[in-house]
Amino acid sequence: MSLTHTTKLRRAETLESEPHGHRRRRRRRRRPGSDGPNWLGGAVSWLWLAIVIVPIYWIFITSFKAQSSYYATNPLAPPTEPTLDNYRLVVESDFPLYFLNSLIVTVGAVVPAVAVSFMAAYAIVRGGGRRFLRGVNSLFLMGLAIPLQATIIPVFLIIIRLRLYDSLLGLVLPSIAFAIPLSVLILANFIRDVPKELFESMRLDGAGEIATLWRLALPLTMPAVVTVTIYNALTIWNGFLLPLVLTQSPDKRTLPLALWSFQGQYSVNVPAVLASVVLTTIPILAMYVIGRRQLLSGLTAGFSK
């Protein structure tokens, strides 16, 4: 992902400020210039909503159908006799273990990734004059322009040489590294918005850089930290290529990989396969429902400046 030019953009106004042009002022019409409802936009968005929802609805209801009735009933009709057998089958086939693996890898990678990215972003914003930090920043920006999949072969080699092949730690380390460029970019964009005067007054109070980072920058940019956390968690939770290449044993599988092999094993049992899809998505949906506002406003601010 390359967003290099966004960094050059205007010092952003505060995000989540009242959206311009959002509330149309009801001026008295002087001429027939005020438009009625936007039919085209409305039609497109409802159509799109249908396109989005139908497959999701289908996945959901099918996962409650018995395999025998799957081929016999209308695919869009809810199950006549809903059953939890598919879910039982999935849960009994080691999915809890895969779930735990995914959780370990995600938490183990996201927490350090956000921590080191925040420190780096703080240093880049506050010490922007130093050649070393300017270089670091350019390096991360370059990282955005490179499809990191392209480095998978050397990563595979490095992980083998570190004797981390087929271990969860071997998944965590590259995941952290791949998350850093975008995290630093977004966090730096937000730290840059903290008024200079606040940093000045912290310094006059005799606070060091660490204290300033901890007591000023971090609390003020918490929304961005949450955004970056959710975004990275989503990316790593759903990651497929790293586990595919860097693990081998069934007991080291993460969910997306487990889904894939489960699908190969039970390809005839569509409802069970879909039940596994639903189960792996539940935790993300839960997170999304909790952090939706934060994620959406943060991403908007991160990308639409």
Partner: protein, 307 residues
Amino acid sequence: MSALATPVRRTPPAATRRTRGGVLPWLAVPALALFVAFGVIPLVGVLFLSFTSWDGLGEIQMSGLTSWRAVLGDPGLMHALWVTLLVMVVSWAVQTPASILLGVFLAGRQRYRAVLAVLYFIPLLLSQAAIAIAYKALLDPNFGLGAGLGVDLLIQDWLGEPVLAFSVVIFVVSWQFIPFHSLIYQGGVRQIPRSLYEAAEIDGAGRVRKFFSITLPQLKYTIITSSTLMVVGSLTFFDLIFVLTAGGPADATRVLALDMYKRGFQASLMGPASVIAVILVLVGLALALLLRRLGGRDANASQLEGA
């Protein structure tokens, strides 16, 4: 890249003395170390490996330009490059107009916004592996949605015909990413100064005229941001295609990233696979630079005019 547009402030000497040397550079070291170890070194490593022969298990041996000759002389490479560019261009052309329309609509007033927002982003949350698995079942000509509904138009060998399979990949990609890009456009539309529209209304411009004369030009930089994400992102479509079609039928969906995986991890030809990886990096960098040139330097000048 002058990423830091903020000029360095001249600080009073006392303060400089406190921070000189100081702790700041050290704060960047952990991130730098991790990124160098698993990002920069592999990047250099992939170039090195492209001059070797390695089967993924045994010894790595220098082999000079052998891999390069093998790959550059392979018609499969041009095909993979072509498919990659086709996926990039077609998915961009499908997603961009739809995302702009949706973004403009979402930025306006509407009821049901909360409901819309929740539902819209569900596709973005699913893993590509999960999406591919679900669509495989959904599109099954014998037992999928089409067969169940009895709609002949939907009963196709979706993943067995080259053109259809390619279209399915584009559709699924759009299905997943249009919501995200419409969000970006929504943010862009909301930053357009209201006064521009008011001026246009006084001049008697209608909705369509306002869209083409104000909204689109004002969105220029948003379009560049979104397009950059789409285009560079399209180089990384691997999971989806790997699970959905595995590059088939007849290599119709064999993009570069998949080509690299198949050569390296399935055919145990790590040297040629590394050549593909180098090409992938070059394509990504070239695109990013091109888009930056388009982006110009002062990305917000137009947005501030007349505000």
